[in-house]
Amino acid sequence: MFEFLGITPQALYSQLLVGLINGSFYALMSLGLAVIFGMLNIINFTHGAQYMLGAFLAWIGLTQLGAWLGSPEFVMNYWVALIVVPMIVGMLGIVIERTMLRHLYKLDHLYGLLLTFGIALIIEGVFRYWYGVSGQQYEIPDELRGAINLGFMYLPKYRAWVIVISLIVCFGTWFVIERTKLGAYLRAGTENPRLVQAFGVNVPLMITLTYGFGVALAGFAGVLAAPIFTVSPTMGANLIIVVFAVVVIGGMGSILGSIVTGLALGLIEGLTKVFYPEASAVVVFVIMSIVLLVRPAGLFGREH
């Protein structure tokens, strides 16, 4: 039915699937941003750098750590990295929150943004200094090598894994925040911290952990990305702007909004690549402009 546009259905399906894979990354990244903004009112511009950090730490664990520790046979494999690296990145995030960000909560958003933007530049600069920009290669783990023949395309097993695991993580996070008691505390803590504190909940600790969790999501996305993208200091900067557009379209702070918009924009971008590839880099921003004109609070956001 698409033949009249010069596109076979096979090509269309495969492009949609590839779009969905990219959408999973957008969703995972924008989810972390939405959690942090929704709970802390901080626009976390370090997110791209933290994503890059996740990928780099995974690479360091696989190829460098053994030598550093003096036993070259020691290797942190992919599966361990998938759990350990987000924790490390999250911990580093917590240090940033405890020592710097917390002094800015009462000020305008702009201050938090400038601080996190500055930190992002520093982290990227340090890695550029150490490792250069050409990038490092991270091998796909043996278990996920090869491809599945779907008839219309070869789907690399690793890409299928990316879709599955990121959907699980995204909807798991949504469930915890929107449907559990812990999530209820979190949301109440943002609405009225004093009242919640009066009920005996340690609000500052909760906020710190939330920031750590949001950042850990970025680190997790970084580890997921390491085997398919070149691990380089600029990898986060390339992604972060699109992810911010996703968050704005979805509605700042909306958990479900960021997940759904992330996936949807991945699909739309995929479609653009079929019909007019030159526009694929701008289509997200065109949509952002339209959404801002029609619904300034974003598709899923609430007007304050």
Binding site: Q15, H109, F117, G125, Q137
Partner: protein, 415 residues
């Protein structure tokens, strides 16, 4: 909400302005002596990518190469004039490059700007240099426009261009039986130029071009484009892009099972890209370069000195920055002035004879005519020592490597 939006706008503005340019201020006092050297100082500016995609293949390494050239020249010639070096990051943006160039020429009296990686920055700076009567030596940029339609009489295109690369790699791959091509092209001047030049070579050698797809620059995910290339059924997928765009394309092509049914041809790849990809992924690929560190005793000797300072072997761009800076300084010494026209005439008159090029001459359109090398990436087991990456398959003689003057669109070429 509104505040948030404003913040986001501010942030994106910050993003585009990031990458802090650095430049040393020249002291206001003007040294006496060296009568015909303007203000007694020869000032060289390396305008390059210090923070982005191309900072490994040019960047700080190019600054090091220029500094080495200056130090070697001073040690050997003991010149009466002072030589200063400044450097700045042009962020691969034409407007940033032209602003910096104007500032350097007007305020800091820079005499020559070198490196100029990324075609858009080279094309932005060249006309300003011409207007101010200063010299540009392009080592980093690739487009044939530099010595074609946009050529200037104060510019040299020293290292390589898309014609030489297309000609070397394109011809070799078609001869090996890769006669149907599909292009994956970075969507800006350089990518278009590379695609056009390679298509012409493929067709001239009896091959066919089945199509092309243009991707945004810089990109991260190339799978959509690779799927298009895959369904085209072409035997060869030509990568008309550079830097991490190329390495990501190659990595993802392996993932989607494109090889060995189809093969990839990297049309602009540097030593640093092969180093990043690793021989396991890059093995057997053909590529063309204007310089390789491990060609002979002379190239090895210089490259090892470079390695001691930079901890990486030099790319052809970095080697070119050294060689061209030296050629420029020699010309100044010979004519005793740093006035652009006189120096340029001397540079064009004198052949380049060093580790980088043998008996190479600068043509009237500014192109340095030197040998190129058709290289093939070694298999991991063939690599004997660090940075041992290439088999030299063929030396492409200078006159075959560059576009013939007869076809030149450069207004300086008299026909």
């Amino acid at each position: 909400m509104k505040q948030t939006l404003i913040s986001l706008l501010v942030a994106s503005a910050l993003c585009s302005a990031s990458g802090v340019a650095l430049s040393q201020q020249k002291p206001a006092a003007v040294a006496a002596g060296a009568a015909k050297i303007s203000d007694g100082v020869v000032k060289i500016g390396i305008l390059t990518d210090l923070s982005g995609l191309y900072s490994d293949l040019s960047g700080a390494g190019s600054v090091t190469a220029a500094r080495m050239a200056i130090e070697d020249f001073q040690a050997r010639e003991k010149p009466a004039f002072k030589i200063e070096l400044v450097s700045a990051d042009h962020q691969n943006k034409g407007d940033v490059a032209s602003n910096k160039a104007r500032e350097w020429f007007e305020r800091d009296s820079v005499d020559m700007i070198g490196d100029l990686v990324t075609t858009s920055t080279a094309l932005a700076v060249m006309p300003i240099a011409k207007e101010k009567n200063r010299i540009t030596i392009v080592s980093g940029a690739a487009s044939t426009l530099v010595t074609g339609k946009n050529c200037t009489d104060t510019n040299v295109h020293y290292v390589y261009d898309t014609y030489a690369l297309a000609n070397g790699t394109g011809k070799a791959v078609v001869k090996q039986g890769g006669d149907t091509w599909f292009f994956l092209t970075a969507d800006y001047a350089f990518g278009h130029s590379l695609e056009k030049d390679t298509s012409e070579v493929v067709i001239a050698n009896g091959g066919k071009v089945l199509g092309s797809v243009r991707h945004p620059f810089p990109g991260t995910d190339f799978s959509s484009f690779l799927l298009k290339a895959q369904s085209s059924g072409a035997k060869v997928i030509g990568l008309a892009n550079a830097g991490t765009d190329t390495t990501n394309s190659i990595k993802q092509a392996a993932e989607f099972g494109i090889m060995p049914k189809q093969s990839l041809a990297g049309l602009l790849m540097f030593l640093t890209d092969i180093h990043s990809l690793g021989l396991k992924t890059a093995q057997n690929m053909y590529l063309t370069e204007g310089f390789y560190w491990d060609l002979n005793a002379e190239t090895r000797a210089w490259s090892k000195r470079f390695f001691d300072k930079q901890k990486r072997m030099p790319t052809m761009v970095q080697a070119g920055v050294y060689s061209s800076t030296m050629h420029y300084l020699n010309a100044i010494k010979a004519v005793g002035t740093d006035e652009a026209k006189a120096v340029m005439a001397k540079m064009k008159e004198t052949p380049v004879n060093d580790f980088f090029a043998k008996n190479a001459r600068i043509r009237e359109d500014g192109r340095l005519v030197h040998d190129f090398y058709l290289l093939q990436v070694k298999k991991p087991e063939e690599s004997k020592y660090p940075w041992d990456y290439y088999h030299v398959r063929q030396v492409i003689p200078a006159n075959d490597a560059v576009a013939p003057l007869a076809k030149s669109e450069c207004p300086l070429v008299k026909k």
